[in-house]
Symmetry: C2
Subunit: 655 residues, 2 copies
């Protein structure tokens, strides 16, 4: 068989779609959006948001109201910054090693997390997509942040007391191309979508009753359910497989409690880009969570050789409905009471508000207009609260605390503010579903956020636009431009641009949480070292294992021992014990000429293993300017050539 490459243009699109596509493709990001002249946007108000000069010390710590956790995309972790300072505070490395922030596979704990449990490969490239902050009763609680990797089937938990990755869970049966991630209102369930269609274990396709052809397709899709224990530990719970891959997802709350809503932009089951736009609509899905659990409880599942303990359920055995939505949707987002499920067709100008109360009625009343692969199709007229024609390239939607939705537009390069229907009209007293403000963005909005804007309790006040293009916003810095996060005050109309922030590539979604929910629980030191503090520094030689074990204490500004010998070719197991108890006093262990450098935070214990394959003297040194004696804080790993080794060259410390 000779596979044919897709033609760039194909006659399968409706005129309206072609119009939207053409503008998107041909003008694309050259359309810089609706920029109102600044005189029309209100005069500068008082000193709010002006950086004072001279700057009082701690000004930024005292004035920042929110932390933003921004997915890094191909950066593989998270960026953290403050609002309204727009000061980059930290990075949290997750799937990609990052020595700056002390996250490297030189440390066995990190190495293990990065290791694919089925192939045993250490996987150091990831693509973080959707951060999802833990919540209690639908409101952020500041305990954890969950985030997924698009490149590999894995989810991480970040612990907000340390700003460190605490767990990486690998999902079975797929090989990547994951997209949406959502956490349940009480943080006991995560749902992760496989966006890219798969050719899974034949046990799965057989259970689905679907055939796949490796070369010709069509393939099948899935989403995973992951349980979260009360201590944050994640475990694979179940998977649901069906004919389609899935894009974005939210687990409902309030009016939509107990349901998963998700989208698929490729209900065509196509294998290349243009045919994925063939239908003039795609689907929003409504999955009943209890029905999935019941299918598992009833034994209606199969398992695979790879994951014998993870039940794989067929879409046929669960309660699921679809309703048509504008083609190639991206975001699907839920209003604070859980009532409205908003979604948009990114290759159209249309944004849809689905009323979940009406949806439940329509299900009860069987307001179906047919079925697709056996799934009842809900009549759009029976479930929609509104269909809005708002602008080119709508993507994601967030909500504030005043009853407004904010919709980002990639092609228009703006965010539109829209009043919601009942029960929010009492908050805003406006005609629902009509644009009341347009926030110009620079340029091409991907995601956007309102603090708490995906919860039962948005905090409002700000919108951040995560723009995909920066162009001439900042000083030029090469063909690879930074991203641009823009902060707006949305307390009045028109909204006001507070600041623009260049940020590393490439944020997908971000969430903002009040500083008061996180700052008090942040640790300044680790306490592990206390447990091993009683153990004396020592060097042990194990001739049987050909291994040297070095138990080393680290404190300003000495390594103890600061010299040890090792026979060439032996393994060295180095345990580093920081005896620091003061905040911000980090040390490190880098070894000249070896591909090895680890960071050691106050009170931290780290194990580092390396093979002494290079004879000679190799200084190890502290990588942090920790005191005025920092440069002298170094010691020697003396790798004795194998031929010269005699046991009297062993290092023994004075007791």
């Amino acid at each position: 068989m000779a596979l044919k490459s897709s033609p760039l243009v194909q006659g399968v699109l409706t005129p309206k779609v072609v119009g939207a596509l053409l503008v998107g493709l041909l003008l694309g990001t050259l359309v810089f959006g609706v920029v109102l002249p600044s005189s029309a946007r209100g005069a500068a108000s008082s000193g709010a948001y002006q950086r004072p000069y001279p700057l009082p010390h701690q000004y930024w710590a005292r004035t920042d109201e929110f932390y933003v956790f921004a997915s890094g995309g191909q950066q593989g972790g998270l960026y953290v910054y403050g609002v309204p300072s727009m000061k980059y505070l930290s990075e949290i490395p997750i799937f990609n090693p990052d020595q700056a922030w002390g996250w490297t596979p030189e440390e066995p704990k990190v190495r293990k997390m990065l290791t694919n449990p089925w192939t045993e490969e250490v996987v150091t490239r990831g693509d973080t997509h959707h951060p999802s902050l833990s919540r209690t009763n639908g409101v952020y609680d500041g305990r954890w942040l969950f985030i997924n990797d698009k490149l590999h089937p894995r989810i991480a938990r970040v612990d907000l007391d340390t700003f460190r990755t605490g767990q990486i869970l690998w999902l079975p049966n797929g090989n990547g191309g994951d997209h949406g991630l959502s956490v349940s209102p009480n943080s006991d369930l995560l749902v992760q979508n496989f966006e890219h269609e798969q050719v899974p274990d034949p046990a799965i396709t057989q259970h689905l009753g679907l055939t796949v052809d490796l070369l010709k397709g069509p393939y099948v899709g899935a989403f995973s359910g992951v349980n979260i224990a009360s201590d944050g530990a994640m475990s694979n719970a179940w998977q649901v497989w069906g004919p389609w891959g899935f894009d974005m997802v939210r687990i409902g709350w309030g009016k939509s409690d107990g349901w998963i809503v998700s989208t698929s932009y490729n209900t065509e089951r196509a294998l290349s880009a243009v045919p994925m736009f063939a239908r003039d609509h795609d689907y929003a899905f409504f999955w009943n969570i209890a029905s999935i659990r019941k299918a598992v409880a009833d034994g209606k599942y199969v398992t695979t050789k790879q994951a014998p303990d993870v039940p794989v359920v067929s879409w046929k055995d669960v309660e699921v409905y679809v309703t048509p939505i504008p083609l190639n949707p991206h975001g699907i987002d839920i209003s604070p009471t859980g009532k409205y499920v908003m979604t948009s067709g990114k290759a159209t100008t249309l944004v849809v508000a689905i009323d979940f109360e009406k949806t439940l009625e329509a299900i009860q009343n069987k307001r179906f207009i047919g079925d697709d692969f056996g799934i009842p199709i809900l009549d759009p007229d029976a479930v929609r609260a509104a269909t809005m024609d708002l602008g080119m390239g709508p993507t994601h939607i967030e909500f504030d605390n005043q009853g407004y939705a904010y919709v980002g537009f990639f092609v228009d390069s703006d965010i539109k503010k829209v009043p919601l229907g009942e029960p929010y009209t009492r908050l805003h007293n406006k005609e629902p579903w009509k644009v009341v403000d347009v926030l110009p963005a620079h340029f091409s909005v991907g995601h956007l956020l309102v603090p708490g804007g995906d919860t039962a309790q948005p905090y409002g006040k700000y919108v951040i636009s995560m723009n995909k293009l920066t162009k001439d916003t900042f000083l030029p810095h090469g063909p690879l431009e930074s991203e641009n996060h823009e902060l707006y005050n949305i307390e009045q109309v028109p909204a006001q641009l507070i600041d623009q922030m260049p940020l590393g590539p490439e944020t997908h979604y971000s969430q903002a949480i009040p500083a008061s929910l996180v700052a008090p629980r942040v640790k300044t030191t680790y306490t592990e070292a206390r447990a091993v503090a009683a153990e004396k520094p020592r060097v042990e030689y194990d001739y049987a294992a050909r291994e040297v074990r070095v138990h080393m204490t680290v404190v300003r500004s000495f390594f103890t021992p600061d010299a040890f010998t090792v026979p060439e070719g032996w393994k060295v197991k180095t345990r580093l014990v920081s005896q620091e108890t003061a905040m911000d006093i980090s040390h490190g262990f880098a070894l000249d000429g070896y591909n090895l450098s680890v960071s050691l935070d106050p009170g931290e214990v780290k194990d580092v293993e390396w093979v002494a394959d290079k004879p000679g003297v190799h200084w190890f040194y502290c990588i942090w300017f920790c005191s005025e004696l920092h440069m002298e804080m170094r010691g020697r790993a003396i790798v004795v050539p194998q031929a010269d080794w005699t046991p009297d060259k062993e290092t023994h410390l004075a007791s």
Copy 2:
């Protein structure tokens, strides 16, 4: 032999030194420096440096005056930000892979640069220390930036037209522990110091006439000379070896033209920290560059097996002098005319100004007070312009355009402003060498910079303090705190704090260059793709080599081909050709389930090689949100199980 670990306290230090050490060690960074009450530091001036609200678009691009290139330390590359915006603009990855900024060993060009030429190991951990911007006639010219790795003996050239690493040069005969780096006034020579003492090839120690003992020491030290061609290409020129390791270095200009000045903090040749403080002084070194070149020309050198083409010169065969300076010096810095060489003892309170004109006279008049390893010791009284007792823990010194030096203090946590002597008194009209201003820092100054402050033409106006501790300056973000760069306006006394900027770990030195010297030459697109644009997309099967070659074009928003087959186990050579010509339109190629993700900037061509060891369908996808069709911009690498492969499964594109 049983090596003994150094005791934490040892009776080898003089009382004054002990005092300084004790404060440094015991109080250390708890001493927060001299913070004047803000009322005493002058009222806020006009709107300068206030972020306007609302913010006009492009405000930051229009108001930034300087680029700062800050070494990332263990981050392995450079941070780039703007001044006075203090906006993080970019990172330039160098020694450590960084997928965010598109620098990964998946790309053979990068892989080759990271490969140690002698061990063939791909070395992915580095520790960047001293950026050195290229210059013409002693003034920044905006062409390149050179930077070294402390962990491995290598130097990189960053090209400022692309903000990308263009070359990594490995230095022979040492295994790391490098420190200072300096570029000559016309960018034809680099000097890099080995701070850590080495046990080199016996050919070297034999040439030096020094013996080393691997276990007991003492070891020997070196610095490397690297030629820079007119196109920026670096090549190893020579090395000078001697009894000591060397710390900081500057190549002189103006009054000090033709000389290298450097320091050693371990003239004790000690093997552990405390004995490195045994002497109450260490040395500044003055090396005559012509004498090194003459030794090479005269054949007074040896070479090693590792580097048969790099002459190794003994310190005995070159013209070199030392003069005592306060113990354990760190920075050594040269004033704009090249007249003053300033250095400080970091474990003391003393800062020394050496007058290079007096030094040359003293050399001519043989004002020696002895010798050390045959090197004449210049009488301090004959060479010093001033010895200042300024505060605890002096580190580095920079210079402005008004005749002032700025000295950073780690323990005092401040920067002191000191008027220089003649010929600068006509600029400032002050009594030289007396503190005129104290800039409080938050906290513990490591390096500091004045724009152009290490050149013949400082730009003045600002000082940036690169603080080693952040503590409570920003919202807390875990045991591992960010760094803090503080920007001061130094146009008046007292200096005013403009802003504080959290930045990733851990800057050593930084340099600031006028935006006008860099911005006009920054490329927004590459042009390589034009050369190969005529080549059609294709897939070729090479059964002899068991290799599939895929020539793929990439443009919004399609890969061509968007599907190809490959027999399991074969190598895939993928050439990606970006056909984008618009700025900021990057794409990428990430492959589901493979440890592979590369970024592709506009007009760029990248080769990616991978082994198809996992059968099944693997979607490749664009990692940049490049258009509204971005998510659909994906294609299939179909890895056919070896047993199922038949040549009719080959992919051939329609012509």
